[in-house]
């Protein structure tokens, strides 16, 4: 079990922060998480103690930067059970997801199918829309059930030889359901399709084993898992990474080139890492991975599920709320206050010191399924507490339209 009170001490943002005069309750962890002091220290360590470029100099400091940089790659690899050479550093999940679509494009032809679903984040759908438009492929959606879940039978039904790519999130960012990725990969591979998995919302909350799942690609961001912004990961099976094209070339990614236009790219993962990377972020990310690993991803997952069950139990007793995903697998609670537009309610939550998000959460397509133009999303993580949930429930209770308007006066 985890000791939340002890954990909270590690986060400067959890020390007596106020918002609109109230103790801050941060329930927007699906957007990004707070950083523990060790991550902040690791970032400043780079600027204070190292500060030179990676992969460049032949002097001691540069060597040290290289070894810390590559040390993070090792840590990431073992975090998701991959091999070091299969870990590409990117600027974040969106960058990784775009890289897969761009890089894999050359293996697709007119008439091929890319399969996804309506609950995906824009960053996992739009790159494929573009690829489909360019190549003449078709983008098809696996039907979700009424709850918004993706049943494996629905996937099986639409799977056929024309499908070349399956693009799905392991846990979706609006409804927080876990998709049975291992089964999906097995079925997709039988048909010769590859699977690109968006783990931006799963990697921060549970242990993910890309080898066991057997996905071909996996994308995620450090900032959603206590790490710095501006750094993310693309995992790819090494053969695939070798065969694909990077969408940027230049310094750092080429081994040789001449003035006749001959370029010899480095092997993966380096051929994808052109230009000076966010070195401080990589070093900070390593600290974040160590931090999460020390707590234990299974402990984190278990705690978050308990907290979620506690919150749902209390919230489902309120008759002024609509809960869209009471059975979510992760810590995401998507809801609305009856007869109050999401944006109005969010301002009320803000006025009470509670950070939740109003919006379409990038999954615009899904809103057609839930029949609402906007929702509120409260997302908890391992440093949130039952006491915070209690106060959140009180605020929900009082979120009348009158109170929502009173915040302006």
């Amino acid at each position: 079990m985890i000791d939340v009170e002890k954990i909270r001490k590690d986060f400067p943002m959890l020390q007596n922060k106020k918002m609109q005069g109230h103790d801050l309750i941060y329930f927007d962890n699906a957007a990004t998480t707070f950083k523990p002091q060790c991550v902040i220290d690791a970032v400043t360590h780079y600027y204070t103690d190292l500060s030179v470029n990676a992969h460049r100099g032949d002097y001691e400091l540069s060597y040290q930067v290289d070894s810390e940089y590559e040390g993070c790659r090792k840590a990431v690899a073992s975090f998701i059970h991959a091999d070091e050479k299969e870990i590409v550093f990117t600027s974040g999940a969106s960058n990784s997801l775009n890289l897969v679509a761009y890089g894999y494009k050359k293996f697709l032809k007119k008439g091929d199918v890319v399969l996804s679903c309506e609950a995906e984040h824009a960053s996992n759908i739009l790159p494929w829309m573009k690829v489909c438009e360019e190549v003449g492929c078709e983008l098809c959606y696996i039907e979700l059930d009424e709850e918004g879940r993706l049943p494996i039978e629905n996937f099986r039904k639409v799977m056929n030889e024309r499908v070349k790519v399956v693009a799905l999130a392991q846990v979706t960012n609006v409804l927080g359901y876990e998709v049975p990725m291992k089964e999906i990969c097995a079925i997709a591979h039988e048909y010769g399709a590859i699977v690109t998995m968006d783990i931006a919302q799963s990697a921060p909350h549970m242990s993910v084993d890309v080898k066991d799942i057997d996905c071909d690609f996996a994308s995620f961001s450090a900032h959603k898992m206590c790490g710095p912004t501006g750094i993310g990961v693309l995992y790819g099976k090494f053969e695939l990474l070798q065969k694909m094209d990077p969408f940027m070339v230049g310094g750092g990614s080429n081994a040789r080139f001449d003035m006749c236009g001959n370029i010899l790219l480095k092997d993966a993962p380096y051929k994808y890492e052109t230009g000076t990377p966010a070195i401080e972020a990589v070093i900070g990310f390593h600290a974040a991975i160590d931090y999460l690993s020390a707590i234990g991803m299974d402990n984190i997952h278990q705690y978050e599920q308990e907290l979620h069950a506690y919150a749902i139990e209390k919230l489902s007793k309120l008759d002024n709320l609509i809960l869209y995903n009471p059975h979510a697998d992760g810590g995401i609670i998507t809801f609305n206050v009856k007869d109050v537009f999401a944006q109005d309610a969010a301002s009320y939550f803000n006025s009470q010191g509670v950070a939740v998000r109003a919006g379409q959460h990038c999954a615009k397509l899904l809103m057609d399924k839930l029949n609402t133009s906007a929702t509120l999303r409260a997302s908890c993580t391992f440093y949130n507490t039952k006491e915070e949930v209690d106060r959140f429930v009180e605020v929900c209770k009082n979120a009348t339209i009158e109170n929502c308007l009173n915040v302006f006066f």
């Binding site: 133009s373 906007a374 006066f409």
Partner: protein
């Protein structure tokens, strides 16, 4: 006016009234109208605004869409306030409205019910809701002036 301004109950009532019963809340789809679709990713309000502008005068304003109380009510109030005004009058009112929102000096009497939004900046991110319909109108006025009518 000033007394009303400091009575949140009354101001809240004005906003609620325009939210529940928005005025001019039906589009004409008449192609002699200027139109604007106002939507952005950072803001979940999504509205269409139409305006008929002739001889430097605003003949009609309509709007429709999915929006929060502040966006709906502020657009509804704007539609009543600017309808029938000349472009010069309208620009003057719009200027005062922005001055109010930005916490600068402004003429209360010109703004009538729109004063209900004088403290909207307390929730900084909602300023965009209180100005979304107004922005649409400004753009359409600019377009009509460019067309010379």
């Amino acid at each position: 006016m000033s007394e009303l301004m400091n009575d949140p109950m009354i101001l809240r009532q004005i906003i609620m009234d325009h939210y529940q019963y928005p005025r001019n809340h039906e589009l004409t789809h008449d192609d002699t109208y200027y139109t604007r679709h106002m939507a952005s990713d950072s803001c979940i309000d999504d509205i269409h605004v139409e305006a008929k502008i002739q001889n430097h005068k605003i003949e009609d304003i309509r709007f429709d869409g999915v929006a929060c109380t502040i966006a709906t009510a502020s657009t509804s109030i704007m539609s009543e306030l600017l309808m029938g005004k000349t472009i010069d009058e309208a620009n003057h009112i719009i200027e005062n409205y922005h001055a109010m929102i930005d916490g600068k000096d402004y003429d209360e009497d010109l703004l009538e019910e729109a004063v209900a939004f004088h403290t909207v900046g307390k929730q900084a991110n909602r300023i965009k809701c209180a100005t979304i319909g107004w922005k649409a109108m400004e753009e359409m006025i600019a377009e009509s002036e460019k067309n010379g009518k």
